[in-house]
Amino acid sequence: MLLIRNGRVIDPASKTDAAMDILIDGEVIKEVGTPGKFSSLKDVQVIDASGLIVAPGFIDMHVHLREPGQESSETIETGTKSAARGGFTAVCCMPNTKPVHDNASITRFIVDKARSVGATRVWPIGAASVESKGEAIAEIAAMKEAGIVAVSDDGKPIATARLARQVMDYCNSLDLPVIEHSEDVSLAAGAVMREGVTSTRLGLRGMPGAAESVCVARDVQIAELTGGRLHVAHLSAKSSLDQVRWAKSRGLRVTCEVTPHHFTLIDEDVQYDSRFKMNPPLASREDREALIAGLADGAVDAIATDHAPHEPAIKDVEFDRAPFGILGFETAIGLTLERLVHTGKISLLRLVELFTTGPARVLGKERKLAVGQPADITLFSTTQEWKYDVKDSPSKSRNSPFDGRTFKGGPMATIVAGKIVYKR
């Protein structure tokens, strides 16, 4: 048995914020009790959580593990180890692998591989269309049977409004969310960053914020038409968030996520350093303020990292030629504390919500610290100072703009199915 003692338990599902001890037996939570309640028990492994927050296991609902196909950048094993180090107990991997995850045998491969070598749970996301080409609908029901939790053509949007309608309709009948990488590819063509004064000054080709919100507007309309579940991935523009707010106000089943880098950095931070290149690109100061407001008031449902490893050989090149994407797992909690909690924008309870019940609700899952629940638990500090050194990461890639940053607070221990998979 495993006992987590002396921690401050924050559980959004039950609105708990209190000193509690948690007793784990095997893979599930056996009991939650007042501090000291289990101190007489013998043969118990103890984690002293004094001064730490004890929360339900964090979920990262948008990640790239690169397996199968691009194992030189990341694997299910290295990616989930990095996730565990970031405090995550479950990750949802996007289907833009090589080949594209558009069939049930790849789903089974991912699920099996994760079971044997994964540090965390892996909940795969399947492609919406065959090869994510935007032509024919993928075998979504078969993939669901094999374990997918959502569909997406991530890396790009579902190519046409017509197909988006069919996918949303079909997924509605299968009770699966459709996750959209919202981008009008004609407005974004050739762009390597956000359009604005900085892109103009640097002579880098920019895409306007509208490249995202035009597509969000399309999909919101289709969500209304079909009644399906739409989740907007890595939302970056104020104009997109306005669309989501409008959809929510009409009672549509529309949700969205925001990444730590979009509420931390802006286009002005780009200096011909490809570690600052991702899609959607870093947005404007005004957009960042709008995202933070949305994270605080509930318009944003989840924080997701869009962990996108690329090995140095392909990422450490001229800005124009570098692929989009940055590492995300290990800096997520630190950045959220720094930008949102320590600044007083959101409460600790809200932080936990954005990493647990928020994404769980989007995926139709439960997350709570209660008797009989899977023992997936994240322990983090809000005070301990530490420095992020990307060289220490278990990830195979090094593309983080936050290398060398000092944080106040971060992940301290990660427990998955009763097993300690990371401890600082």
Partner: protein, 338 residues
């Protein structure tokens, strides 16, 4: 203090003093261009690597000529002949060139910021000979030198830049240099080529974007023409006929500028498109002076980056002995009929 330059990647970060120093140091090299024998020994034994990852004729020849007139040897890499097409990364190519031990790297590349990226990894000076749509520092300097010669000053002038501003690295270098001397800018061209964001790229420099050429030319001291760069266009562009109708600089339109206004063009010109022949060949045109000044400016850049200026204020081009132009190598050409 004599300014020191590690690299020359952009004009934006340079101060007015540093820019003035670069222009002043170019001055004696202008004289050299008029000598019958133009070769100095300043960089004898030094090697200048010229790496042009994007097509260029004039800038490559100009840098090559500048290097040879300083007595340096050159090594040449051209995109067509390079190993980039064989899959080598830019950085590996740069490391390989560097392994042949040049004393500086002059580099042109189609990606904005590529010289900055290479400079972060090399210990020799890197000179940006044009990066994507970002900057073209030596062009900005030679334009300023040309303007200073003709107008007597580069302070507080009304500068009008015409054409495809969005994709012009020349315009950005012009704005960053002349802006530090109090010049006011009017940018003009079809709206998709003149984004309003340009008004804010140089803090403290007054820049306005207008879309009618007549308005743009009113009261101009200096008019800088830009080539319509068909190879850099991503957007659907306006038709050539509309461009000529709306934006060609012809003699009639030029009358709106000040009578002593001068016209610059970085070349190569599309005669009859952005500039009418009577303007290109007219008395206000400085096009060929710009080319001559280009060699002088690039000699100054290579000299200052490879050896650094002399602390005693001396200048290599001012120490040319009188006999320099009367040596055995400087023979009177043999008669053709002999």
């Amino acid at each position: 203090m004599t300014p020191r330059f590690r690299d020359l990647l952009a004009l934006e970060p340079l101060s007015a003093d540093e820019l003035t120093f670069l222009l002043d140091q170019s001055k004696p090299f202008q004289e050299i261009q008029r000598h019958p024998l133009k070769k100095l020994a300043t960089l004898r034994g030094k090697t200048v690597a010229l790496a042009f990852f994007e097509n260029s004729t004039r800038t490559r020849i100009s840098f090559g000529t500048a290097a040879s007139r300083l007595g340096a040897d050159t090594m040449n890499l051209q995109a067509e002949a390079s190993s980039l097409k064989k899959g080598e990364t830019l950085l590996d190519t740069a490391f390989n060139l560097n392994a042949m031990k040049p004393d500086c790297l002059v580099m042109r590349h189609s990606a904005s910021g590529a010289p900055h990226y290479v400079a972060r990894h090399l210990d020799i000076p890197v000179i940006n000979a044009g990066d994507g749509t970002h900057e073209h520092p030596s062009q900005g300097l030679l334009d300023a030198l040309t303007i200073r010669d003709r107008k007597g000053t580069i302070n507080n002038l009304n500068v009008t830049i015409l054409g495809d501003l969005q994709h012009s690295r020349v315009a950005r270098s012009n704005i960053h240099l002349l802006g530090k001397f109090g010049c006011r800018f009017t940018l003009c061209g079809p709206s998709m080529w003149v984004p309003r964001e340009l008004e804010k790229i140089a803090a403290g420099t007054p820049v306005r974007c207008v879309y009618r050429i007549e308005e743009a030319l009113e009261g101009a001291d200096v008019i800088i023409m830009l080539r319509v760069q068909t190879e850099r266009l991503h957007e659907p562009s306006i038709s050539p006929n509309d461009y000529i109708l709306g934006y060609q600089l012809n003699a009639e339109r030029l009358k709106r500028a000040k009578p002593d206004a001068i016209v610059l063009h970085p070349g190569p010109m599309n005669r009859g498109i952005e500039i009418a022949p009577e303007v290109a060949d007219g008395p206000q045109s400085c096009v060929l002076e710009q080319v001559t000044n280009g060699v002088a400016v690039r000699m100054a850049i290579l000299y200052l980056l490879v050896t650094g200026a002399a602390e005693d204020g001396s200048h290599p081009a001012l120490q040319v002995p009188v006999e320099h132009n009367r040596r055995a190598t400087d023979r009177v050409p043999a008669k053709k009929d002999s």
